[in-house]
Assembly symmetry: C2
Homo-oligomer: 480 residues x 2
């Protein structure tokens, strides 16, 4: 039997070559920032908070207070009643975004001079602190691409709507923020083409090595780009030969963790059994509530806020943009009150880097719990809660000495739904014992995470961002 | 790094040995039927339809008509409004069982004389046509094992509630009938012990070879046993060396399909992409409805029935049983109006057996669609529908000549919820072209199905039964 001609068998090795390509003659990195600046000048955006009552094209249901677009498309803002009997906070209510449409986050890939390049878009989103960020080739809800808002067609969309004609490298639906979205999933796709592709204004081919350098900068590579990149088949013999067991430098341990030839503290079946155990043991009961019936949440002129002043606000914005499909619109957005911390604590165990993963229950997940970073929280939200509710390992992540911090950048969350939502993403080496035992935590290798990323419902959006950050650290040559 | 001491690395080979053990000195097959008959005499059951109003311990909600147990446990019977815009029937309403509790279906395994044996229970269920069937060691809802009905404790349950002390061979939550259950999942577990296990009345150790022979008989191995057995890690070099490519007998092709050293028509990634594509493209919208507000369904004295007389009835039964945890009870049950047909059409492609799998949308699935058999239907339900709605391949499955039928038995569905629900399970060799192309069908190897069975949400309950049936066919020596 021959495999299907489009089988991506040879992809991992080519991913490695792209990672090692720290620069590209097709689009040199030293021209990136001038190009990006020029895009920013053309794709201006003006975002202004407006009263909730002035949302045009959106209606507030007179009975429930829920917000919906008049087309029935895009998303709705509703209320949710959440009970997690064994959680630190066993019951609460909150606004949540209900967006049942499955959107497409797609990156087009193509070889230039033998190296895979990825077509990235300089895209304005109203919630971005800095206007423009680097996004996937296509980032479209079904409402976008079915033209609910009658804007311009989405460029390059056909490559992802008829992927059968091309080599599909990645195609998996993944969840997004489980505390702000109710069961939202987007289709994460990477499609490789061999044909000529017209390069439109605002788009640019980049190698993984180039993207990885940009990922180390604050607020450049957007959340949608990070989640798609995290789903690359980034395990197995990706580029250089596996380092030897005598070498325990961080990068070598990371490469062994990606290579996946043994070395995992817990066999794959035990990881799956653990996920089954957590999802069976953990109860989370959710029930839709009218947005106007939430306890401790109030609708003011400009925002729906929590009485404590914490968590997030639901605001309305008026957007005037030059570089997008339509010239102007208004929409509701979630505005977090404070920045968050998202951290992988990592440790070389037997020469193989392991990440301490946390099986976290969030109300918006379709299947109870997903694997999340060691630390994922907004520290200020815990100010008014008992000490027992303080997230484990938060202090360790924030207090790590500089020489133990392997990745540290402030990255933005989805700028289409969240207003100035930013988290500090950290990869920190830890002294936690390899024998550390807790029913909600497990040490896992990168290869094990990459394997689970082929399926839905396993690895949450924050952990996927950090997986992309870990990948970016493989590009440095081993210190040995 | 050493793997965890309980790593089931050596399990596949031992599964093969158990398959080849067509008999056992521990519990010879020729004593099975006398033992089973004796169990049947002791574990008598008397099941009698009663008026719905006479359900004791169950309440009919005065507003919605929904049925619930007074304890709040077990399950509820509610209404569901279903819209599948692209389906042959785009909209309907129906009663459905809502059982949010995750139960345990667990089989205990232990080696005797070097061969894995599995502890099976002769268990009475009120819905069984023949009273007694062979079930897993433990078959318990949370209400059972938390003693909502104050019956006797569930024997052997502790092995599955504290599996960490033992070798876990299988532990995965799987869905059940998506047309009768709303998002029900049970935890399918196989736990291996080395310690002595007391053999209680009504339990018996059996090798896989013995179970496989019993599976070929009508109505002996129950649905719960079949689904757990299907989740065995039944791929890789399970027992005998892979047959050579020159050998294209059915059994040899089946063994190659289990072995999984290449030979799949579609690479694994393409299968996953296809599942993503189906689940993105297919829309299924469900909405709870009051049971008394369903279109075309009426509550009579003894049953809730559809005006057409088709599909199923919701009935009430009074159960008097001797061999169960409690002596008597009443409960609602689903009673299908006719028997169904569940068939794998299979074909050797390049010497490797492939199954034509159907990605099927059913309203009760958590994630849109699951991989189902080539044919899965109740033929009579299609009598009043247009020809376009007639299931593909049904006539081919039913009309196959005897020498193309590799498995043919009538097997029962869950006897705890369904009354006399039986399907004819078939494995049929087909002449459908290997190049057959349809967006909802794909040729897959057994190894590919077994890989997906490590995860939830992929392979439906009917297909899992047939996977167990396929496994049972590997026990015959190759014809070569």
């Amino acid at each position: 039997m021959t495999e299907h001609p489009a089988a991506p068998a040879a992809v991992p090795g080519r991913i490695g070559r792209s990672v090692d390509a720290r620069d590209s003659r097709v689009a040199p990195l030293d021209t990136f920032h001038p190009w990006f600046k020029e895009c920013a000048e053309r794709a201006y955006t003006d975002v202004r908070p407006i009263p909730l009552d002035e949302l045009a094209g959106w209606t507030t249901d007179p009975v429930t207070g829920n917000l919906a677009h008049v087309s029935g498309g895009f998303f709705r803002v509703e209320g949710l009643d959440v009970t997690v009997p064994d959680g630190p906070v066993p019951h609460w209510t909150q606004p949540i975004i209900n967006q049942p449409e499955i959107g497409i986050l797609g990156i087009l890939a193509k070889e230039f001079e033998g190296v895979l390049h990825f077509l990235m878009q300089a895209k304005v989103e109203p919630g971005n602190v800095n206007g423009l960020q680097l996004s996937p080739t296509v980032q479209a809800t079904r409402s976008n691409y079915s033209r609910v808002h009658r804007g311009r067609p989405v460029p390059y969309l056909d490559y992802f709507r008829e992927p059968g004609r091309h080599r599909v490298i990645t195609d998996v639906r993944q969840s997004e923020q489980g505390s702000w979205f109710y069961r939202k999933r987007n289709r994460n796709m990477i499609v490789e083409v061999t044909e000529d592709v017209e390069l439109l204004d605002g788009f640019r081919w980049l190698t993984l090595g180039q993207i990885h350098q940009l990922l180390a900068l604050d607020d450049i590579v957007n959340m949608d780009a990070r989640t798609v990149l995290s789903c690359l088949p980034f395990s197995g013999p990706t580029h250089r030969p596996a380092p030897g067991p005598e070498d325990d430098s961080f990068t070598a341990a990371l490469l062994r963790s990606c290579h996946g030839v043994g070395g995992a503290l817990h066999p794959d079946d035990h990881i799956l059994n653990w996920v089954t155990e957590v999802r069976t043991r953990s109860e989370v009961l959710t029930r839709p509530l009218p947005l106007n019936a939430l306890e401790q949440w109030r609708r003011g002129e400009y925002a729906i806020t929590h009485d404590s002043g914490q968590f997030f606000e639901l605001i309305a914005v008026d957007v005037r943009a030059g570089g997008r499909e339509v010239g102007g619109w208004t929409q509701p957005m979630i505005k977090p009150r404070d920045g968050g911390v998202v951290a992988f604590l990592v440790k070389s165990i037997g020469g193989v880097l392991h990440v301490l993963m946390h099986a976290l229950v969030e109300p918006g997940y379709l299947d109870v719990a997903e694997l999340s970073p060691t630390v994922q929280c907004t520290p200020r939200n815990f100010d008014h809660l008992p000490d027992a509710a303080r997230p484990m390992f938060l202090d360790e992540a924030l207090g790590a000495p500089a020489d133990r911090i392997r990745f540290d950048a402030v990255l933005s969350e989805e700028g289409g739904r969240f207003y100035h939502a930013r988290n500090r993403y950290l990869v920190v080496e830890t002294d936690i014992d390899a024998g550390f035992s807790h029913p909600d935590f497990r040490w896992m290798t990168v290869r094990q995470l990459v394997d689970l990323l082929r399926h839905s419902h396993y690895v949450n959006i924050q952990a996927r961002s950090l997986v992309a950050c870990l990948h970016s650290l493989t590009g440095q040559p081993p210190v040995v």
